[in-house]
Each structure stands twice: as structure tokens, then as C-alpha cells.
């Protein structure tokens, strides 16, 4: 059962680890970065155990769709936070370019910027963590393994997931400074679009949104969702082998709206 625990924990951790890796890179140079992001992760972890403990009650809320409503709300807030971060960063990139004396001001405002990323980290950990807690609790309660083997397996899965997140972070730091900002904001833009698509999928599952087409296309022969690359691309850019039409609409709308917001924020202000 140890290997089973490792694989499942790794799968659940992967998405959160990639998000944390991107957030840590995007927050590079901001004061208190470690404190903010670690704080976000800890809040998320606490929230995930509460969600797991209340899974039964949660499922029965909102006419049996409490889980969907919670996850859709988590994703919607995360999309807004990522959008806000990217637009805010675009505005400040322009100001910094115009007047280096404003650097101090930008740093002083750094805490506002990090609260958005910390929230995204907390939400990602909360979402993936609650499923992990339920799974591990089931293993222990069902006597499927001793505490030691389950703990070893879970730790190994967590370590592997963290390693992928750290790998992404380390890779991002190697990007030349000139391209660094556009790379991290590009990744955050794709992450937000991916989350918007996931949000639509969950609302369709609860029958709160029509699917419009289910699926709109199917590329599972080309790249399956459960392949290693499929899972990675799912977490990073929202790859879905057989998306519903509504998911594609959500993905495109989020992408275009945030990109337009970033473009507008970069335009010179009329009066300052």
C-alpha cells in the first residue's frame, strides 16, 4: 500500500506544487516572500483538514452539490487573484520603467501584491490537500497499511511533488531578467485560464451550467489526460483532452480579459 499512497499523494500534491513554484518565482525580490507564501500554504493545509473532516456534511449542502460549489468558488477567487496580480504587476512595471525613484514605493506596496499570491497558494493547497487527507485517513482507518508505511508512502509522494515544484522554480530563475517578467506573468495568465476552465467543468458536473458540447473535441488518442505530460500540462496550461464547449468559453474569456487588463494597465496614464 506504500506505493499506492506515494502515487496518489504525488498526483494531488503536483498541482499545488507547480502553483507554489510559479508564485515563488513571480514574487522574487519582494520582501517577506517566504513568510507570505509559507503562511498561505499553512492556512491552506489547516483549511484542507477542516474540509476533509466535514466532507460528508459538505456533500449534502447546496442540494448535494456543496463540494462543487466550494471548489468552483475556490477556483473563481483564485482566478480573480491571479488576474489582479498580473494587472497590478503590469501597472508597476510601467511605473518602474518611468521613474526608478518609485522603486521604494513599489517595494512598500509589495505586501498587497503578495497577499493575492498567498491566497492563491492557500486555495491550491486547500483544494488538493483535502482530497489527500481523505485518502490517507481512509487508508489508516481501513487498516490497509500500518501508520508507518502510510506515513512513509505519503512523505515520499509529498517529497516527489515538492521536487517538481522546486524544479519548476529553479528553472524559472534561470530565465534571463529581460524575459523573466513576461515569462512569469505569461504562466500566471495560463494558470488563471486553466482554473477558469476547471471551474466551468465543476459547474457543469453540478448542472449549474450547460455543457454546450460534451466534449467539443477529443484529443485523448494524441495526449491522454492521465499520461504524465497530460497531467503536467493540465496543471500548468489547463490541457483537457475532451473539454466541454463551456470550458473552452471560460478558458478563452479569462485569457482574453486578463490579457486585455494587462495591456490597458501598461498604457500611460492620462494624468499623474
Amino acid at each position: 500500500m506504500m506505493l499506492g499512497a506515494t502515487i496518489i499523494v504525488f498526483r494531488e500534491v503536483l498541482e499545488a506544487a507547480l502553483i507554489i513554484g510559479i508564485a515563488a518565482a513571480a514574487a522574487r525580490g519582494s520582501p517577506g516572500r517566504g513568510r507570505w507564501l509559507a503562511g498561505g500554504a499553512i492556512v491552506g493545509l489547516l483549511a484542507s483538514t477542516i474540509v476533509a473532516a466535514l466532507a460528508g456534511e459538505l456533500t449534502n449542502l447546496a442540494g448535494g452539490n456543496g463540494q462543487e460549489l466550494l471548489n468552483a468558488a475556490i477556483l473563481a477567487v483564485a482566478v480573480l487573484m491571479l488576474a489582479w496580480h498580473n494587472i497590478w504587476m503590469s501597472r508597476h512595471a510601467r511605473q518602474l520603467a518611468r521613474d526608478t525613484r518609485q522603486l521604494g514605493e513599489a517595494v512598500a506596496e509589495g505586501h498587497r501584491d503578495l497577499s493575492a499570491l498567498a491566497t492563491v497558494v492557500a486555495l491550491a493547497v486547500m483544494r488538493e490537500g483535502s482530497e489527500t487527507v481523505l485518502f490517507l485517513y481512509g487508508l489508516l482507518a481501513g487498516g490497509d497499511g500500518t501508520t508507518a508505511t502510510v506515513a512513509t508512502g505519503a512523505t515520499l509522494g509529498l517529497a516527489l511533488g515538492a521536487l517538481v515544484g522546486i524544479g519548476l522554480y529553479a528553472g524559472l530563475l534561470r530565465i534571463p531578467p529581460r524575459l523573466f517578467f513576461s515569462t512569469t506573468s505569461g504562466l500566471i495568465l495560463l494558470l488563471a485560464a486553466a482554473m477558469a476552465s476547471q471551474c466551468a467543468r465543476i459547474l457543469i458536473q453540478a448542472d449549474w451550467l450547460p455543457s454546450l458540447a460534451s466534449p467539443l473535441w477529443n484529443t485523448s488518442r494524441l495526449l491522454a489526460d492521465d499520461s504524465a505530460l497530460g497531467r503536467l500540462l493540465h496543471a500548468l496550461v489547463g490541457y483537457d483532452a475532451s473539454p466541454a464547449g463551456m470550458q473552452v468559453i471560460f478558458y478563452t474569456t479569462a485569457f482574453v480579459a486578463i490579457a486585455a487588463g494587462m495591456r490597458l494597465a501598461r498604457l500611460p496614464a492620462r494624468s499623474t
Binding site: A47, G64, I74, T119, L134
Partner: protein
Amino acid sequence: MNHLASCLAIIVALPVLMPVARADEPDARLTIRNHRFEPEELHVPAGQKIRLLVTNLDASAEEFESHELNREKVIPGSGSASLYLGPLAPGRYPFIGEFHESSARGSVVAE
């Protein structure tokens, strides 16, 4: 952390504040017993939306997951949960219980 705390509070409060009545009968049923699905082959009509009710008789939670159906939902231990599928094109759509993947396997057959 104010920002973060208020976001989390809103998110947690939402499901409580939005009770939606859904008394309609499910179109299909699955039961989980000893980490296996019953039936392992579930026949449903193609071309229409299906409300699937999954009842978990085991004490531990399970996650109903299917990439082919594009669905994922936690079924609490000794509880049940429903989700909507399709409308599906005729065909076979495998699903698994992610927490007990070696035994919990089945397929939805749309026809």
C-alpha cells in the same frame, strides 16, 4: 492576512448559504462496496444528460474519477453523492475509484 482570511470565509460560507432543492430521482445508480463498484458496467441512454447517484457503503471516502467522462467527485464514507454526466455519444467510458484504483473499476456504456 486579512485579505486571505476574508476570501476563505466567503468561500466556506457559500455552500451553506446556497441550498438548492434537488428532489428529482437519479437516472442511474452506482454502489461502492468493499472498494468495488456495483454494477461494474453501467448502461445509460446516449444523447441525454444523466444524473448519477453514487452510494458508498464503505466507511472510507472514495473519489469517483473518469477522464473519459471528464468527471471527478469525492463520495464520502457511508454516504452518497450525485453528479451529472453527458449528454454522451454512444460508447464506453471507463471510470475508477481513485483511492482504490486496483479494485474500484468500471465503465459507463452509453447506447
